[in-house]
Symmetry: C2
Subunit: 776 residues, 2 copies
């Protein structure tokens, strides 16, 4: 186990005894971010650290992608998020001895993240080698109101005797860099030292750095300022790649030195160094203007507002309660202030997946934001729409029409080097267009506001160019890879075909409902007719013999995986070759099961029950993306207890470090997925009709669930107990039509209660491969 | 056009006017080799040159294979043939001016390769800048009797005046190295300077070098000796990586200086430097012992014997006549003296494909050798059998049973970095086992003599582990790639399934006919029963609607390729992405058509006619492997004129540089393929029965064809004219039963003539995609 021991608490994530052997996962878990700026939860004294880094969303470097056997159209340039100057270090020396928490036996060493305050606190009490007991209390925040500001309050007390203390506060590039997962020396050459330093200046109480990435030419500036209380001397010095401010004090017993460190950041593709510096200094000034207390107050105000709109409650499972709130907190922070940049798979909490964004953000993060903080969703969709040109270019390279969005990217260009799991995974386009459509439907805004109509049109064109009709009139997508990465380059993946159908129909609807805009996009009536004809003809394979949908043509005839013999060989892809598992009945992640959720209305209840049973028995869940979808699919088939177990797994992915890779950053899709497992799963929430639909279930273990969503401006509260589901509009237009278990209710301020339905499964609760049951 | 202009002649390949702008292809075409040692056809004065290199078969270096996105079981080490010290340079200075054929206007500058003498001659007559006319006459050979010896006779005449001449004869590593097709600096680092020099010594008339490859640790030694006639001084000097012998003469008008340069080579995995040197010096001594005339006589003796067994004649097409003999000559040389090493796709005529061997050697070279020079075939099969352990290791990595042979390799280990076209192309195992089986059948020797029975057993085990029976009892191979590299990762490729069936049956037969040996190989009766049961159940897809075999399940439902729009976009793979063409009806190379040849008896005549028509219309022939198979498939379907056109294309691939890559080396599979197109195609030769079968056809353009084969020790001559096919046994056991057009004849020394059948096609001559008709 690599997860730190954390206390269960409804509003705090507290590590009562800091475990320096598990610091990697803790660095990610205690990350602070606002979507623009992110800081890993490292120690103030910098060491020990697994990956000490500060990130700015959108600041990345490129590197060559060289193939031992290349091919036409393989991306030639990779991208990687790079760490900008880190301002977290405040290295302490007491009576000549550098503080290293591994070398002292602290009486107290705790950290806690306060989900309502938006701050990370730390308290360390120890006896220094010279005999004096000291207490260090620090509080760190990344401002949710001032996107460029990070601030630290650092308070050191000499408890029972005198102490000569020196605090070396750094703003530095010389951090512990993100690990580079490449043995190509050209990659490390590009990524290890991505910056050229343009200026490094100090003033007595701080200074600034300006830098530029060597290949992408992105300018970055960071500034720092210190405010020191107590009798101390302060001086600063600028070095080659850092600014160091030294605070020295001779504390008497009971005396305190208090430092408030304010950091400001900015980046730009085109600003000159001086402008960058002025902006960073301006950010520091803005932080100073608000003052420490002002920053704290803003932080709380924004989070109060967030929780009023987004809080979730579960009774009967305190661990889950904490995880759901923690996940929402991190999700809110990851998306709060993004600007012309995506949310990566790890947000700004680590350099995992090189900081790339994937379709899972559209699939598992955006719908959450659209229902909770639509303004944050809008900014992310705006970014995705801004990559349309790159997606069109990629389609042109592939001799396809329309646009095909990148499998993994930071700036919109495809950077995946293994085409069967990226270029062939055309379903990402359906997820992207779905996110735009869902957002417009949930918020009641125009598809054009964020570019959604154009995305629908361009993706419809893509489907038309890659799909085709056979002699018998069936419309097929051949040689694609669906969400399940263990089954590659297949024909007629059911999920992809169903999603393409939706995409075509929604594009047709979008053009017919806005004929002028459709004309601007060059869409003819004939084109729309062709989309509808293709949608009508989409072929959905069915295995009559087994009475289930094959995940793709032929899937159910593949040889079965020897799950019993292979218990110790997970993840499958690390112990087996593609040539082996691409045509076996072993499923990495929800694929057909994801269709049971996103394309619910395409399955009869009988089909859903049969399909669920079939795929549950063959899904090994080697991807963190899977559990939330399996939770929803289980809930759809009326297995709330199993749904809860999957919900717990997805909710605790990071807090329990279930994948053992939380050190590389939090799993954004799991954070969002846990909320979706609760609402779309147990709550039966559907957001694709003209009115919100619910179908609540309550697992035996929980006595109550409660969540909030914002539907077309109305804030709806949904509380489910054994006594029924109680709905009320807390804010915004009322009454609101809500469909519960197929029946429409008018909901206003006065709560409406609908009786709770008993689960009515058509089959027994499905089982999983040995050892691959839901974890936690 | 990059091919040199060559005279058409039945026994010579003569370039009457050396064209130094087309020197790359000429270097390959004028290569000399004996399968152990190969020398490119470079100019004596070394420059200009495209790739000046001497190769030893089996001497290679490894380099890292680094993947931008790796995966389990991807080979981590590449291999590349490397150039050993080159002894061809004899740099000439006349009256202080270095000879550069580009800077003089020669009266005469010709080269000719004599297919009966086994020598490359050159004559150059020019006026030196100082005014004297000189004539240089050189003759080069790579001995077919002394595998380690290359010799050059260099004769320079001062025709009409005095000349002070200096000849700088080198044995040197500092050659013009093979081009490295990788932008990974670690690859060039490994391959560009592969050798560490162990010793470099001179004696007055020559010297030697010993070297070792840095990573593979292969020791190489080369020695050189000069014998000089005429009044000249000779001295030698050893440098860091070369031995240079300088011959100086003051020639009066009409005087000649004559140098005989003898080179000896050796290599070993374990010998110390001194032993290597002694062997190389020993080789030079052996060459010296024979003397220049002795070497020439041996050369002619061996080739006389070869042509007596292997000559082919065609009347009515002198170009084809020349090409067929040239091809057989180069094939004979490529395989004559191989020792514990494979024949690469380019033989030793260039560093193309990094010197790797592929399944095409088993498919298109070995059957030729088995029928013409079985002792050479045996040595190659012995090498392949020696890679069984590597093939077993690879199978174990993939969690497969038995053995899976490498797609591309020098030492038996898989080095392909793109798995869909290598690891998934399991059909190579069928080609390997077929080569063993055919050899035993043709020669009448035991399968065990070369390890064939073990190969059959281990490949049968492979098929059993990758194939499986479905619920309906059909046996399938899913997720494989057949010979057509434009259709990857498919199910039930007809060619692969038919070949797997043969492999299983032959393995079962081989075990039942040698029960003691089968027991030694751990084969049980139950295992054999399972092989037969699987063979019985092999699923062969059939498209009832179109009345043809889909090349793989679903192939005929794929979208058609827009051949008309894509006329200028060949090869397809350089203008299109895999994700586009893997599921289109565009065929790179014979796949189903290859099955029409190798699995002839699995098709009715009607099926063969329909299949041929269908696939001819969709095959773009972007691979040089294809034309010979298409020739045979056309002949099978009774289209001898079209078969001849394909035969011409395959026969002239190198002499006309049709693929524009002959500079990288000759296409061994095309050399062999042209003979197969003549014999298996026009001759209807089948080598899989207990007696040789023939079904001759004569295209309109040809008035006569004549070829020879050795069947179980009997040398059979087969001559076809309009008057019929005349058979006679020239040597070995007689009478010999030969089946012609289904009727058995007893053939002895006295010729037997069988009337010529008229072609009886069931359909019209098939057509090809626009612009992809047979070339030449």
């Amino acid at each position: 186990m690599s997860a730190p021991h954390l206390e269960v608490h409804p509003w705090l994530v507290r590590e009562p005894r800091v475990d320096l052997d598990r610091t990697g996962a803790a660095e990610a878990l205690f990350s602070l971010s606002n979507g623009y700026l992110g800081v890993r939860g490292t120690l103030d004294e910098a060491d020990p650290s697994v990956e000490r880094a500060t990130f700015l969303s959108g600041v990345f470097e490129t590197h060559p992608l060289a193939y031992p056997e290349g091919g036409y159209g393989h991306p030639e340039e990779g991208q990687a998020i790079v760490a900008v100057p880190d301002g977290t270090p405040l290295r302490l020396t007491v009576d000549g001895a550098a503080l290293d928490a591994r070398e002292v036996e602290p009486e107290v060493h705790e950290r806690r993240l306060d989900l309502r305050a938006g701050t990370l606190d730390r308290r360390l009490r120890w006896r220094s080698p010279s005999g004096t007991v000291l207490e260090l209390r620090t509080r760190r925040l990344v401002s949710l109101s001032e996107r460029s500001v990070c601030a630290v309050r650092y308070e050191l007390e000499a408890v029972d005797g005198p102490a000569h203390v020196v605090v070396r506060s750094e703003l530095t590039l010389g951090a512990c860099p993100p690990e580079i997962h490449s043995d190509d020396p050209r990659v490390s050459a590009a990524i290890e030292q991505p910056f050229e330093v343009l200026t490094a200046r100090s003033v007595p109480t701080g200074g600034h750095l300006a830098l530029r990435t060597r290949r992408t030419g992105i300018g970055v500036a960071a500034a720092v300022e210190h405010d020191v209380d107590g009798a101390a001397t302060v001086e600063s010095e600028a070095g080659e790649d850092r600014v160091v401010t030294t605070v020295t004090a001779a504390l008497a017993a009971g005396e305190i030195v208090r430092i408030t460190k304010t950091l400001g950041y900015t980046w730009s593709h085109d600003l000159p160094a001086d402008s960058l510096v002025q902006r960073a200094v301006g950010a520091v000034d803005a932080g100073g203007e608000l003052g420490w207390e002002g920053l704290l107050a803003e932080q709380r105000r924004i989070l109060d507002d967030f929780w009023a709109r987004a809080d979730v409650e579960v009774d009967g499972d305190p661990e889950l309660q904490q995880a759901l709130r923690y996940n929402l907190f991190q999700l809110c922070c990851a998306a709060a202030r993004t600007t012309r940049a995506p949310v990566g798979a790890k947000g700004l909490t680590g350099a995992g997946y090189s900081g790339h964004t994937f379709w899972d953000v559209e699939g598992f993060v955006l719908p959450v934001l659209s229902l909770l903080v639509p303004e944050a969703a809008a900014e992310l969709l705006r970014w995705r729409a801004s990559t349309l040109d790159a997606a069109r270019e990629r389609a042109a390279v592939l001799d396809w029409k329309g646009a095909t969005f990148a499998w993994r990217t930071i700036d919109g260009h495809e950077t995946s080097a293994y085409w069967p799991a990226s270029t062939a995974a055309v379903h990402v386009n359906a997820a992207v267009s779905r996110a735009f459509w869902v957002h417009a439907n949930v918020t009641g805004t125009s598809l054009d506001e964020l570019g959604g109509r154009e995305v629908l049109v361009e993706t419809a064109r893509l489907w038309m160019s890659i799909g085709h009709e056979d002699a018998e009139g069936g419309w097929h997508l051949l040689g694609v890879t669906g969400p399940d990465e263990y089954t590659g380059v297949v024909d007629d993946n059911v999920f992809t075909n169903l999603m393409a159908r939706r995409n075509l129909i929604r594009a047709a609807d979008a053009c017919e409902s806005a004929p002028q805009r459709a004309r601007e996009l060059g869409v003819t009536a004939e084109e729309v007719r062709a989309w509808r004809a293709a949608a009508d003809a989409v072929h959905i394979p069915w295995d009559d013999h087994r009475g289930v949908h094959p995940a793709n043509a032929g899937f159910t005839t593949y040889r079965e995986w020897r799950f019993a013999d292979k218990r110790d060989s997970y993840p499958v892809e690390e112990h087996n070759h593609y040539a082996k598992f691409y045509r076996r009945q072993v499923v990495k992640q929800a694929d057909l099961e994801l269709a049971l959720w996103w394309c619910r209305e395409d399955f009869t209840d009988e089909e859903a029950a049969a399909d669920l049973e079939y795929y549950e028995a063959r899904t090994v869940r080697d991807s963190s993306l899977s559990a939330s979808a399996q939770a929803v699919a289980c809930a759809v088939a009326q297995h709330p207890d199993l749904a809860l177990r999957y919900l717990r797994e997805t909710a605790l992915v990071d807090l329990r470090d279930i994948q053992e890779d939380t050190a590389e950053g939090l799993h954004m899709a799991s954070l969002g997925g846990s909320w979706l497992a609760l609402t779309a799963g147990l709550g039966g929430l559907r957001e694709i009709g003209d009115e919100l639909e619910l179908a609540p279930l309550l697992p035996a273990r929980l006595s109550r669930t409660c969540f909030r969503v914002t539907w077309r401006g109305s804030l709806l509260r949904v509380e489910t107990t054994a006594g029924g589901t109680t709905l009320s509009v807390l804010d915004g237009p009322a009454p609101l039509g809500v469909v519960v278990d197929g029946v429409r209710h008018e909901v206003g301020e006065v709560p409406v209660t609908v009786p709770l339905r008993d689960p009515a499964p058509l089959r027994a609760e499905p089982t999983q491969p040995a050892g691959r049951e839901p974890r936690v």
